[in-house]
Protein backbone atom coordinates (compact mmCIF):
# COMPACT_ATOMS: atom_id res chain seq x y z
CA UNK A 1 0.00 0.00 0.00
CA UNK A 2 1.25 3.48 -0.83
CA UNK A 3 1.68 5.86 2.06
CA UNK A 4 -0.54 8.69 0.91
CA UNK A 5 -1.29 11.54 3.22
CA UNK A 6 -4.67 10.36 4.61
CA UNK A 7 -3.21 6.94 5.42
CA UNK A 8 -0.27 8.45 7.31
CA UNK A 9 -2.52 10.93 9.12
CA UNK A 10 -4.96 8.22 10.22
CA UNK A 11 -2.19 5.88 11.43
CA UNK A 12 -0.46 8.75 13.23
CA UNK A 13 -3.69 9.74 14.92
CA UNK A 14 -4.36 6.15 16.04
CA UNK A 15 -0.80 5.79 17.31
CA UNK A 16 -1.79 7.32 20.67
CA UNK A 17 -4.95 5.27 21.17
CA UNK A 18 -8.22 4.05 19.59
CA UNK A 19 -10.58 6.65 18.06
CA UNK A 20 -13.84 6.69 16.13
CA UNK A 21 -14.38 8.59 12.88
CA UNK A 22 -15.23 12.02 14.28
CA UNK A 23 -12.48 11.89 16.93
CA UNK A 24 -10.02 10.98 14.16
CA UNK A 25 -11.14 13.90 11.97
CA UNK A 26 -10.83 16.35 14.88
CA UNK A 27 -7.46 14.99 16.02
CA UNK A 28 -6.02 15.16 12.48
CA UNK A 29 -7.32 18.72 12.14
CA UNK A 30 -5.63 19.61 15.45
CA UNK A 31 -2.19 18.11 14.86
CA UNK A 32 -1.88 18.48 11.07
CA UNK A 33 -4.28 21.30 10.23
CA UNK A 34 -5.83 19.05 7.56
CA UNK A 35 -9.62 18.84 7.23
CA UNK A 36 -10.17 15.33 5.92
CA UNK A 37 -13.55 14.84 4.26
CA UNK A 38 -15.73 11.91 5.36
CA UNK A 39 -15.21 10.04 2.07
CA UNK A 40 -11.44 10.44 2.25
CA UNK A 41 -11.31 9.43 5.91
CA UNK A 42 -13.41 6.29 5.49
CA UNK A 43 -11.64 5.41 2.24
CA UNK A 44 -8.36 5.39 4.19
CA UNK A 45 -9.95 3.46 7.09
CA UNK A 46 -11.33 0.74 4.79
CA UNK A 47 -7.98 0.31 3.01
CA UNK A 48 -6.09 0.19 6.29
CA UNK A 49 -8.53 -2.34 7.72
CA UNK A 50 -8.25 -4.53 4.58
CA UNK A 51 -4.49 -4.40 4.96
CA UNK A 52 -4.66 -5.41 8.62
CA UNK A 53 -2.94 -2.23 9.80
CA UNK A 54 -5.91 -1.12 11.89
CA UNK A 55 -8.82 -3.02 13.42
CA UNK A 56 -12.31 -2.08 14.52
CA UNK A 57 -13.08 -2.50 18.21
CA UNK A 58 -16.42 -3.80 19.44
CA UNK A 59 -18.79 -1.03 20.44
CA UNK A 60 -22.39 -0.69 21.57
CA UNK A 61 -22.49 2.70 19.90
CA UNK A 62 -22.77 3.15 16.11
CA UNK A 63 -19.54 5.16 16.40
CA UNK A 64 -17.12 2.29 16.09
CA UNK A 65 -13.58 2.97 17.38
CA UNK A 66 -10.49 1.78 15.52
CA UNK A 67 -7.05 0.94 16.82
CA UNK A 68 -3.69 0.52 15.14
CA UNK A 69 -2.32 -3.05 14.97
CA UNK A 70 1.28 -4.09 15.62
CA UNK A 71 1.82 -4.47 11.85
CA UNK A 72 0.37 -0.98 11.27
CA UNK A 73 2.57 0.56 13.96
CA UNK A 74 5.64 -1.12 12.50
CA UNK A 75 4.92 0.11 8.96
CA UNK A 76 4.15 3.64 10.20
CA UNK A 77 7.40 3.76 12.17
CA UNK A 78 9.42 2.67 9.10
CA UNK A 79 7.67 5.20 6.88
CA UNK A 80 8.11 8.08 9.33
CA UNK A 81 11.82 7.31 9.82
CA UNK A 82 12.34 7.31 6.04
CA UNK A 83 10.37 10.55 5.73
CA UNK A 84 12.42 12.06 8.55
CA UNK A 85 15.66 11.26 6.69
CA UNK A 86 14.32 12.94 3.55
CA UNK A 87 13.11 15.95 5.55
CA UNK A 88 16.42 16.31 7.37
CA UNK A 89 18.39 16.09 4.13
CA UNK A 90 16.10 18.52 2.35
CA UNK A 91 16.19 21.05 5.16
CA UNK A 92 19.96 20.89 5.49
CA UNK A 93 20.37 21.37 1.74
CA UNK A 94 18.04 24.35 1.77
CA UNK A 95 20.12 25.89 4.57
CA UNK A 96 23.29 25.36 2.53
CA UNK A 97 21.80 26.98 -0.58
CA UNK A 98 23.59 30.28 -1.20
CA UNK A 99 21.36 33.33 -0.87
CA UNK A 100 21.41 35.88 -3.70
Amino acid sequence: MDFTEPVVLVLTSLADGPKHGYALAKDIEDFAGAKLGPGTLYGALSRLEDRGWIEALPSDDRRRPYRITAAGADCLAKHLKAAQRVATTGLSRLDLRPTI
Partner: protein, 293 residues
Protein backbone atom coordinates in the same frame (compact mmCIF):
# COMPACT_ATOMS: atom_id res chain seq x y z
CA UNK B 1 -32.45 9.22 4.78
CA UNK B 2 -34.21 10.91 7.71
CA UNK B 3 -35.32 14.55 7.53
CA UNK B 4 -33.04 15.64 10.37
CA UNK B 5 -29.97 14.34 8.56
CA UNK B 6 -27.73 16.61 6.45
CA UNK B 7 -28.35 16.20 2.71
CA UNK B 8 -24.83 14.82 1.87
CA UNK B 9 -25.92 11.63 3.68
CA UNK B 10 -28.02 10.84 0.60
CA UNK B 11 -24.79 10.44 -1.39
CA UNK B 12 -23.99 7.29 0.57
CA UNK B 13 -26.28 5.49 -1.88
CA UNK B 14 -23.55 6.05 -4.49
CA UNK B 15 -21.27 3.65 -2.60
CA UNK B 16 -21.19 -0.13 -3.32
CA UNK B 17 -23.74 -2.07 -1.25
CA UNK B 18 -21.12 -4.18 0.56
CA UNK B 19 -19.13 -1.10 1.46
CA UNK B 20 -22.30 0.65 2.72
CA UNK B 21 -23.23 -2.38 4.81
CA UNK B 22 -19.85 -2.25 6.54
CA UNK B 23 -19.20 1.50 6.90
CA UNK B 24 -22.52 3.20 6.03
CA UNK B 25 -23.79 3.72 9.60
CA UNK B 26 -20.47 5.10 10.83
CA UNK B 27 -20.07 7.40 7.83
CA UNK B 28 -23.62 8.68 8.26
CA UNK B 29 -22.84 9.65 11.86
CA UNK B 30 -19.56 11.26 10.85
CA UNK B 31 -21.29 13.39 8.22
CA UNK B 32 -23.87 14.49 10.82
CA UNK B 33 -21.11 15.26 13.38
CA UNK B 34 -19.03 17.20 10.88
CA UNK B 35 -22.06 19.25 9.77
CA UNK B 36 -22.92 19.96 13.40
CA UNK B 37 -19.31 21.10 13.85
CA UNK B 38 -19.71 23.62 11.03
CA UNK B 39 -18.19 21.74 8.07
CA UNK B 40 -19.54 23.08 4.73
CA UNK B 41 -21.83 20.57 2.92
CA UNK B 42 -20.71 21.12 -0.70
CA UNK B 43 -17.00 20.20 -0.27
CA UNK B 44 -18.18 17.30 1.89
CA UNK B 45 -20.52 16.12 -0.88
CA UNK B 46 -17.73 16.35 -3.45
CA UNK B 47 -15.44 14.36 -1.14
CA UNK B 48 -18.12 11.69 -0.69
CA UNK B 49 -18.59 11.33 -4.44
CA UNK B 50 -14.81 10.93 -4.93
CA UNK B 51 -14.83 8.35 -2.11
CA UNK B 52 -17.67 6.45 -3.81
CA UNK B 53 -15.77 6.34 -7.13
CA UNK B 54 -12.63 5.10 -5.32
CA UNK B 55 -14.66 2.41 -3.50
CA UNK B 56 -16.13 1.14 -6.80
CA UNK B 57 -12.71 1.12 -8.47
CA UNK B 58 -11.28 -0.83 -5.55
CA UNK B 59 -14.05 -3.41 -5.74
CA UNK B 60 -13.54 -3.82 -9.50
CA UNK B 61 -9.82 -4.23 -8.98
CA UNK B 62 -10.30 -6.70 -6.14
CA UNK B 63 -12.74 -8.76 -8.24
CA UNK B 64 -10.26 -8.86 -11.12
CA UNK B 65 -7.38 -9.80 -8.82
CA UNK B 66 -9.52 -12.35 -7.05
CA UNK B 67 -10.57 -13.98 -10.36
CA UNK B 68 -6.98 -14.15 -11.58
CA UNK B 69 -5.78 -15.55 -8.24
CA UNK B 70 -8.66 -18.02 -8.17
CA UNK B 71 -8.00 -19.42 -11.66
CA UNK B 72 -4.24 -19.66 -11.13
CA UNK B 73 -4.67 -21.28 -7.73
CA UNK B 74 -7.12 -23.86 -9.08
CA UNK B 75 -4.72 -24.76 -11.94
CA UNK B 76 -1.83 -25.11 -9.51
CA UNK B 77 -4.02 -27.16 -7.14
CA UNK B 78 -5.01 -29.70 -9.83
CA UNK B 79 -1.38 -29.91 -11.05
CA UNK B 80 -0.08 -30.33 -7.50
CA UNK B 81 -2.63 -33.03 -6.62
CA UNK B 82 -1.77 -35.04 -9.77
CA UNK B 83 1.94 -34.50 -9.16
CA UNK B 84 1.73 -35.44 -5.48
CA UNK B 85 -0.34 -38.57 -6.18
CA UNK B 86 2.21 -39.80 -8.73
CA UNK B 87 5.18 -38.76 -6.58
CA UNK B 88 3.64 -40.46 -3.54
CA UNK B 89 3.16 -43.67 -5.51
CA UNK B 90 6.74 -43.44 -6.75
CA UNK B 91 7.92 -42.67 -3.20
CA UNK B 92 6.01 -45.72 -1.96
CA UNK B 93 8.15 -47.82 -4.29
CA UNK B 94 11.25 -45.95 -3.14
CA UNK B 95 10.51 -46.48 0.55
CA UNK B 96 12.93 -49.43 0.58
CA UNK B 97 15.63 -47.13 -0.79
CA UNK B 98 18.26 -46.13 0.10
CA UNK B 99 18.88 -49.25 2.16
CA UNK B 100 22.28 -49.36 3.80
CA UNK B 101 23.37 -52.10 1.41
CA UNK B 102 22.26 -50.23 -1.69
CA UNK B 103 23.84 -46.96 -0.54
CA UNK B 104 27.10 -48.84 0.09
CA UNK B 105 26.93 -50.17 -3.44
CA UNK B 106 26.07 -46.89 -5.13
CA UNK B 107 27.58 -44.18 -2.98
CA UNK B 108 31.30 -44.50 -3.83
CA UNK B 109 30.84 -43.91 -7.54
CA UNK B 110 27.42 -42.18 -7.65
CA UNK B 111 26.85 -40.08 -4.52
CA UNK B 112 24.23 -38.10 -6.44
CA UNK B 113 21.72 -40.96 -6.09
CA UNK B 114 21.17 -40.77 -2.31
CA UNK B 115 21.53 -36.97 -2.56
CA UNK B 116 18.69 -36.80 -5.09
CA UNK B 117 16.62 -39.05 -2.86
CA UNK B 118 17.11 -36.68 0.09
CA UNK B 119 16.27 -33.68 -2.10
CA UNK B 120 13.01 -35.45 -3.01
CA UNK B 121 12.21 -36.01 0.66
CA UNK B 122 13.00 -32.39 1.59
CA UNK B 123 10.97 -31.06 -1.36
CA UNK B 124 8.05 -33.27 -0.34
CA UNK B 125 8.19 -31.94 3.24
CA UNK B 126 8.18 -28.31 2.01
CA UNK B 127 5.29 -29.07 -0.36
CA UNK B 128 3.22 -30.69 2.39
CA UNK B 129 3.93 -27.78 4.77
CA UNK B 130 2.94 -25.17 2.15
CA UNK B 131 -0.23 -27.13 1.31
CA UNK B 132 -1.17 -27.45 4.99
CA UNK B 133 -0.60 -23.72 5.57
CA UNK B 134 -2.81 -22.76 2.62
CA UNK B 135 -5.45 -25.42 3.39
CA UNK B 136 -5.87 -24.25 7.00
CA UNK B 137 -6.06 -20.58 6.00
CA UNK B 138 -8.56 -21.18 3.18
CA UNK B 139 -10.63 -23.58 5.29
CA UNK B 140 -10.96 -21.08 8.17
CA UNK B 141 -11.87 -18.28 5.75
CA UNK B 142 -14.35 -20.50 3.86
CA UNK B 143 -16.02 -21.71 7.08
CA UNK B 144 -16.40 -18.13 8.30
CA UNK B 145 -17.88 -17.05 4.96
CA UNK B 146 -20.24 -20.05 4.89
CA UNK B 147 -21.42 -19.32 8.44
CA UNK B 148 -22.01 -15.62 7.68
CA UNK B 149 -23.84 -16.33 4.41
CA UNK B 150 -25.66 -19.47 5.61
CA UNK B 151 -24.13 -21.66 2.88
CA UNK B 152 -24.64 -25.21 4.11
CA UNK B 153 -23.29 -26.66 0.85
CA UNK B 154 -19.83 -25.32 1.75
CA UNK B 155 -19.80 -27.36 4.97
CA UNK B 156 -20.82 -30.48 3.01
CA UNK B 157 -18.19 -29.88 0.31
CA UNK B 158 -15.47 -29.32 2.90
CA UNK B 159 -16.36 -32.62 4.57
CA UNK B 160 -15.97 -34.54 1.28
CA UNK B 161 -12.13 -34.93 1.34
CA UNK B 162 -12.18 -35.97 5.02
CA UNK B 163 -14.96 -38.55 4.52
CA UNK B 164 -13.37 -39.95 1.34
CA UNK B 165 -9.89 -40.21 2.91
CA UNK B 166 -11.32 -41.83 6.06
CA UNK B 167 -13.45 -44.28 4.09
CA UNK B 168 -10.68 -45.22 1.68
CA UNK B 169 -8.01 -45.71 4.36
CA UNK B 170 -10.48 -47.60 6.54
CA UNK B 171 -11.36 -49.88 3.62
CA UNK B 172 -7.68 -50.42 2.90
CA UNK B 173 -7.28 -52.13 6.24
CA UNK B 174 -10.07 -54.56 5.35
CA UNK B 175 -8.46 -55.65 2.09
CA UNK B 176 -7.00 -59.18 2.24
CA UNK B 177 -3.20 -59.13 2.33
CA UNK B 178 -0.66 -61.74 1.38
CA UNK B 179 -2.80 -63.92 -0.92
CA UNK B 180 -1.96 -62.99 -4.50
CA UNK B 181 -5.04 -64.54 -6.08
CA UNK B 182 -6.73 -63.07 -9.14
CA UNK B 183 -9.69 -62.04 -7.02
CA UNK B 184 -7.55 -60.24 -4.44
CA UNK B 185 -5.52 -58.53 -7.15
CA UNK B 186 -8.69 -57.33 -8.87
CA UNK B 187 -9.96 -56.03 -5.55
CA UNK B 188 -6.68 -54.19 -4.91
CA UNK B 189 -6.64 -52.60 -8.37
CA UNK B 190 -10.31 -51.66 -8.00
CA UNK B 191 -9.59 -50.08 -4.61
CA UNK B 192 -6.64 -48.19 -6.10
CA UNK B 193 -8.82 -46.82 -8.92
CA UNK B 194 -11.44 -45.89 -6.36
CA UNK B 195 -8.70 -44.00 -4.50
CA UNK B 196 -7.79 -42.09 -7.68
CA UNK B 197 -11.48 -41.24 -8.19
CA UNK B 198 -11.66 -40.17 -4.54
CA UNK B 199 -8.68 -37.85 -4.96
CA UNK B 200 -10.29 -36.32 -8.06
CA UNK B 201 -13.65 -35.97 -6.29
CA UNK B 202 -12.08 -34.41 -3.21
CA UNK B 203 -10.11 -31.93 -5.33
CA UNK B 204 -13.25 -31.00 -7.26
CA UNK B 205 -15.08 -30.39 -3.96
CA UNK B 206 -12.26 -28.09 -2.80
CA UNK B 207 -12.27 -26.29 -6.18
CA UNK B 208 -16.03 -25.73 -5.87
CA UNK B 209 -15.51 -24.18 -2.42
CA UNK B 210 -12.72 -21.95 -3.80
CA UNK B 211 -14.97 -20.82 -6.67
CA UNK B 212 -17.97 -20.04 -4.46
CA UNK B 213 -16.28 -18.28 -1.53
CA UNK B 214 -15.16 -14.67 -1.19
CA UNK B 215 -11.74 -14.89 0.42
CA UNK B 216 -9.89 -12.00 2.03
CA UNK B 217 -6.86 -10.37 0.41
CA UNK B 218 -4.73 -11.88 3.16
CA UNK B 219 -5.96 -15.38 2.29
CA UNK B 220 -5.21 -14.84 -1.41
CA UNK B 221 -1.72 -13.64 -0.53
CA UNK B 222 -1.12 -16.78 1.55
CA UNK B 223 -2.55 -18.89 -1.31
CA UNK B 224 -0.21 -17.15 -3.75
CA UNK B 225 2.82 -17.85 -1.56
CA UNK B 226 1.78 -21.50 -1.14
CA UNK B 227 1.16 -21.87 -4.91
CA UNK B 228 4.61 -20.44 -5.66
CA UNK B 229 6.17 -22.72 -3.01
CA UNK B 230 4.57 -25.94 -4.30
CA UNK B 231 5.42 -25.00 -7.89
CA UNK B 232 9.06 -24.52 -6.86
CA UNK B 233 8.88 -27.87 -5.04
CA UNK B 234 7.52 -29.50 -8.22
CA UNK B 235 10.38 -28.06 -10.29
CA UNK B 236 13.00 -29.25 -7.76
CA UNK B 237 11.39 -32.67 -7.27
CA UNK B 238 11.09 -33.27 -11.02
CA UNK B 239 14.76 -32.38 -11.43
CA UNK B 240 15.70 -34.67 -8.55
CA UNK B 241 13.63 -37.54 -9.97
CA UNK B 242 15.29 -37.21 -13.37
CA UNK B 243 18.74 -37.04 -11.72
CA UNK B 244 17.91 -39.98 -9.48
CA UNK B 245 16.74 -42.17 -12.36
CA UNK B 246 19.63 -41.31 -14.67
CA UNK B 247 22.26 -41.74 -11.94
CA UNK B 248 20.84 -45.01 -10.67
CA UNK B 249 20.72 -46.49 -14.13
CA UNK B 250 24.27 -45.28 -14.74
CA UNK B 251 25.33 -47.03 -11.53
CA UNK B 252 24.47 -50.40 -13.15
CA UNK B 253 22.86 -51.52 -9.89
CA UNK B 254 19.37 -51.33 -11.33
CA UNK B 255 18.93 -52.98 -14.71
CA UNK B 256 15.15 -53.25 -14.63
CA UNK B 257 12.54 -51.80 -16.95
CA UNK B 258 12.82 -48.00 -17.09
CA UNK B 259 9.28 -47.40 -18.37
CA UNK B 260 7.82 -46.85 -14.85
CA UNK B 261 10.38 -44.17 -14.05
CA UNK B 262 9.90 -42.56 -17.47
CA UNK B 263 6.10 -42.42 -17.06
CA UNK B 264 6.40 -40.98 -13.54
CA UNK B 265 8.94 -38.40 -14.73
CA UNK B 266 6.78 -37.45 -17.72
CA UNK B 267 3.70 -36.92 -15.53
CA UNK B 268 5.74 -34.88 -13.05
CA UNK B 269 7.18 -32.74 -15.85
CA UNK B 270 3.79 -32.11 -17.49
CA UNK B 271 2.05 -31.18 -14.22
CA UNK B 272 5.00 -28.96 -13.23
CA UNK B 273 4.89 -27.17 -16.58
CA UNK B 274 1.15 -26.64 -16.17
CA UNK B 275 1.60 -25.10 -12.72
CA UNK B 276 4.44 -22.83 -13.90
CA UNK B 277 2.37 -21.66 -16.90
CA UNK B 278 -0.63 -20.95 -14.61
CA UNK B 279 1.47 -18.82 -12.26
CA UNK B 280 3.18 -16.91 -15.08
CA UNK B 281 -0.17 -16.43 -16.85
CA UNK B 282 -1.73 -14.97 -13.70
CA UNK B 283 1.08 -12.43 -13.45
CA UNK B 284 0.91 -11.47 -17.13
CA UNK B 285 -2.81 -10.73 -17.24
CA UNK B 286 -3.44 -7.00 -17.29
CA UNK B 287 -4.15 -5.69 -13.82
CA UNK B 288 -6.58 -2.93 -13.06
CA UNK B 289 -5.25 0.55 -12.60
CA UNK B 290 -3.72 0.73 -9.10
CA UNK B 291 -5.76 2.72 -6.67
CA UNK B 292 -3.90 5.38 -4.75
CA UNK B 293 -4.14 4.71 -1.04
Amino acid sequence: MRKDQPWPVALLSAYPADWRARYGDELELLIADLRAGGRAPIPMAFDLLCGAVAAWVRIERRTLMSQRSRNALISVLWSWVAFAAVAAWFGHDLAIYPSALKVAQIDPSHPVVPDAYHVLLAAGAVGVAATAMAAITFAINALGYARRCGRRSTFVLMAVPVVIAGGWLGGLRLLPAGNFTVGNLTLAVGWLLLGVAGIAGSTQAVVTVIRSTEFSERTWRIGGVAAAAVTAVMVVATGATITWGVAERASQVHRGDASGWLIVTAIMAVTTARAVIALIGARREPAGKPVAA
